[in-house]
């Protein structure tokens, strides 16, 4: 498993390769050797994590499960982490975050992602329809702190809703691979039985692995699952009577996470609840912060602020800054704040210029600002 251990001095072969790449890069300036190698091997790169799709499976009506073989820049992952996957749709590159779902201790060099097509999800719909074996996609190294603890907790509670099953699936698979035997409760909410990702495998694990309890809830089909309705204290009590002493990991739609936070806060267990959300918090302009001028210094464009994040304002002004997740995670859109103050739309924190680096997708101007864009 990829733990936080620092790598030792790399082997000689790797150091020789690194020096060779330096010479090749000088010979291939100004492009670098990557631009030539990718002519014959699209997934090879010395600067970008890329992966070849080696298997495509569609196990539920709305999902697609991809098995990927990343190149040498992939440095493994911890169960629960995600990668930012980029695909091209109609000539435009789109990037989204997806959690690895496989066993993080596996040494086969493969990773698995399960993508659920959402009505509004351009990337998920595209992958669901068009992903094919042999295709190359761009990734980032694994990110995120929503991870399985290094030491086995006395009780592990994994709660997920819909496609939020992906990181906790990896946690469960990793837990089994590590041979852990303390109790685990896997509480999952999906619309129907057919929509539930990994249902058969989970049922198999629950039957064979020690101390794994699977609780399935099908919110659109009362009476067909183990419980009915949405997450409540009663659900927790029924699924995992000892929940108030568990280490809990929750991933899913905002209402599920809000309820979980509320229940754990009331039990005084907030510190033992870990959450992951890939849904964008709604941005609402607060009265009094909307006024001001936004200047995009490098483009010599100025606009009156409309109170939305700088990224949206930049795009509305016709600029096309590099972006990634658009939700404050990936830092692809990081730009220099030359002057003024911005508010982090997710945390409410204020940041002052000059010379601060801000993620423009979640930074809302407070008064006049100038950014290097």
């Amino acid at each position: 498993m990829a733990t936080g251990v620092l790598p030792t001095r790399p082997p000689l072969s790797r150091r020789v390769l690194r020096q060779a790449i330096r010479v090749f890069n000088a010979a291939a300036t100004p492009y670098g050797v990557d631009r030539y190698v990718e002519l014959v091997r699209p997934s090879w790169s010395s600067t970008e994590v890329r992966a070849k799709v080696v298997q495509v499976a569609r196990t539920t009506p709305r999902s697609v499960t991809l098995t990927l073989r990343p190149n040498g820049l992939w440095a493994g992952f911890r169960a629960g982490q995600y990668t930012q996957l980029s695909v091209e749709i109609d000539g435009v590159r789109h990037t989204r975050c997806y959690s690895m779902t496989n066993d993080a201790t596996s040494r086969d060099g493969l990773i698995e992602l399960s993508i659920t097509a959402h009505a509004e999800g351009r990337v998920s719909r595209h992958l669901h329809q068009a992903a094919q074996k042999g295709q190359t996609v761009a990734l980032t190294t694994a990110q995120g702190s929503f991870t399985l603890p290094d030491a086995e907790p006395a009780h592990l509670l994994l709660i997920s809703g819909g496609s939020g099953i992906t990181p906790v699936m990896s946690m469960l698979r990793t837990r089994c691979a590590l041979g852990w035997t303390e109790p685990v409760t896997f509480l999952h909410y999906s619309l129907t039985e057919q929509d539930m990702l990994y249902r058969e495998e989970l049922e198999q694990i629950a039957r064979t692995a020690p101390n794994v309890r699977l609780v399935r809830v099908f919110t659109d089909r009362p009476g067909t699952g183990d419980l009915d309705g949405f997450l409540t204290a009663a659900h927790l009590g029924a699924a995992a009577p000892e929940w108030a002493s568990a280490e809990a990991f929750v991933c899913g739609p905002a209402p599920l996470m809000d309820t979980a936070r509320d229940l754990f806060a009331r039990a005084g267990r907030s510190g033992h609840l870990h959450t992951e959300a890939f849904t964008l918090a709604q941005f609402t302009a607060e009265a009094g912060t909307v006024d001001g001028l936004v200047r995009f210094g490098a483009s010599e464009i100025g606009v009156a602020s409309d109170g939305t994040p700088l990224l949206l304002q930049a795009e509305a002004a016709g600029l096309t800054p590099l972006t990634g997740c658009r939700m404050g995670i990936c830092h692809t859109c990081t730009r220099r704040l030359c002057s003024g103050v911005v508010r982090d739309a997710l945390t409410g924190d204020l940041t002052n210029g000059p010379e601060a680096n801000i993620r423009i997708c979640v930074s809302v101007p407070v008064g006049d600002v100038e950014i290097d864009l």
């Binding site: 010979a27 300036t29 100004p30 492009y31 631009r35 002519l39 000539g91 010599e300 096309t320 590099l322």
Partner: protein, 377 residues
């Protein structure tokens, strides 16, 4: 004295209408951008890389004349494609909408002595904003050639043809020094520190490329050192001459009009579009020719929409021409021999003092009276 626009009988209202027509044309093309455009530019990048590989590899057999020629030729092709259709256009941000880091105007670096960042500032910003404004567009003669009657003659201008030849041979270095811009430092428009930084960047970049072409690859070929060096130098010169010809045909042929700072002060967007159209000149040719020009043979369309992928210029050219006709705006186009011939004529003519009667003529198809004559009237 009437302005150029007035000389062409264009009122501010008409210029506004012109603006709207061009903006809707732009929106129409922008809406069509997609897979096709990305596939095209990637294909060109692939061709360019294979040309580079072919060129470098052939020179290992450079003692055989056909391989030496193939090497020099393939490297010339690679450099021309890199500088014109790929580099120039990517650095304009024509492919930024793809969000592909390999096609991003902020990250791209090209095979030219001038660092991409410096070039973007003076070209994308200064030249494209202040096109053909005598006092502001430093691309008019690149600071060394007197190409306009508006510029006072000095005896040094007698060397015009020689300077042009020198610039043609060393065009990429010329562009680099152009970016450093000592002229603006003397005029107090650029600080010494800024120029020094540009110079440092420029020397580092051109040094890296020179090391690659004149030391590293020749050394790789061992005993063929000098042959490889000569082929690489030839490829650089071929690229330089070609770029010089195409770029000088963009704004300097007979009929491309110049403007004064005064008449462009606080200009409307419509006037800006008008200035781009009458300040630029196209070259006719076949598809391959346009690709080798980086589609700068559609200089008029490029100046109207510098960040629309250049392969689309050919598609919109008939519409732009039709708009020009309706507004009575000249659309300057012609064969390469004609356009470049008139550039050469200007280079020689303006080596000598005096104001040519033809300094601001209206090109073919425009009203009989030249703008200059109308203005004098």
């Amino acid at each position: 004295m009437p302005t150029v626009a007035e000389a062409y009988g264009l009122t501010p209202t008409q210029l506004d209408a012109l603006e709207h027509e061009l903006e809707s044309l732009r929106a129409e093309v922008a809406g069509q951008l997609g897979t096709e455009d990305v596939t095209y530019i990637r294909r060109l990048i692939r061709i360019q890389r294979w040309a580079e590989i072919t060129g470098r590899a052939s020179l290992f057999l450079g003692f055989l004349p056909p391989f030496w020629l193939l090497g020099a030729g393939a490297l010339s092709l690679s450099k021309i494609l890199d500088n014109m259709e790929i580099g120039h256009n990517v650095l304009h941000g024509q492919y930024d909408w793809t969000k592909d880091p390999a096609l991003s105007s902020t990250d791209f670096e090209w095979d030219s002595s001038c660092p991409a960042k410096g070039w973007q500032h003076y070209h994308n910003y200064l030249h494209h904003t202040y096109t053909n404004i005598t006092e502001k567009d430093r691309d008019l003669g690149y600071g060394v050639i007197r190409i306009s009657a508006e510029k006072p003659w000095t005896p040094a201008n007698l060397g015009n043809p020689l300077y042009a030849l020198g610039l043609a041979l060393m065009f990429d270095h010329g562009i680099m020094w152009h970016d450093v811009d000592f002229g603006h430092v003397r005029a107090g428009k650029k600080t010494r520190a800024e120029a020094k930084q540009s110079l440092k960047n420029g020397l580092r970049k051109s040094g890296t490329l020179a090391f690659r072409d004149y030391i590293m690859w020749p050394a790789f070929t061992g005993p063929l050192f000098l042959l490889t060096l000569a082929a690489n130098a030839l490829a650089n010169v071929v690229r330089n001459i070609w770029a010089f010809i195409i770029i000088f045909c963009g704004h300097f042929p007979q009929g491309a009009l110049e403007f004064t700072e005064a008449e462009c002060e606080g200009e409307s967007k419509g006037h800006w579009y008008f200035r781009q159209m009458v300040g630029s000149a196209n070259i006719t040719g076949r598809s391959l020719f346009h690709i080798m020009c980086g589609n700068l043979s559609f200089q008029i369309e490029h100046h109207l929409f510098p960040d629309i992928p250049a392969r689309r210029y050919k598609q919109i050219a008939p519409q732009v021409r039709e708009i020009c006709q309706r507004y009575g705006i000249p659309y300057n186009t012609g064969r390469l021999s004609r356009q470049f011939g008139s550039v050469i004529w200007k280079i020689f003519r303006f080596a000598l003092p005096g104001r040519s009667r033809h300094s601001q003529p209206a090109p073919t198809g425009a009203p009989e009276n030249t703008a200059a004559e109308l203005m004098a009237a």
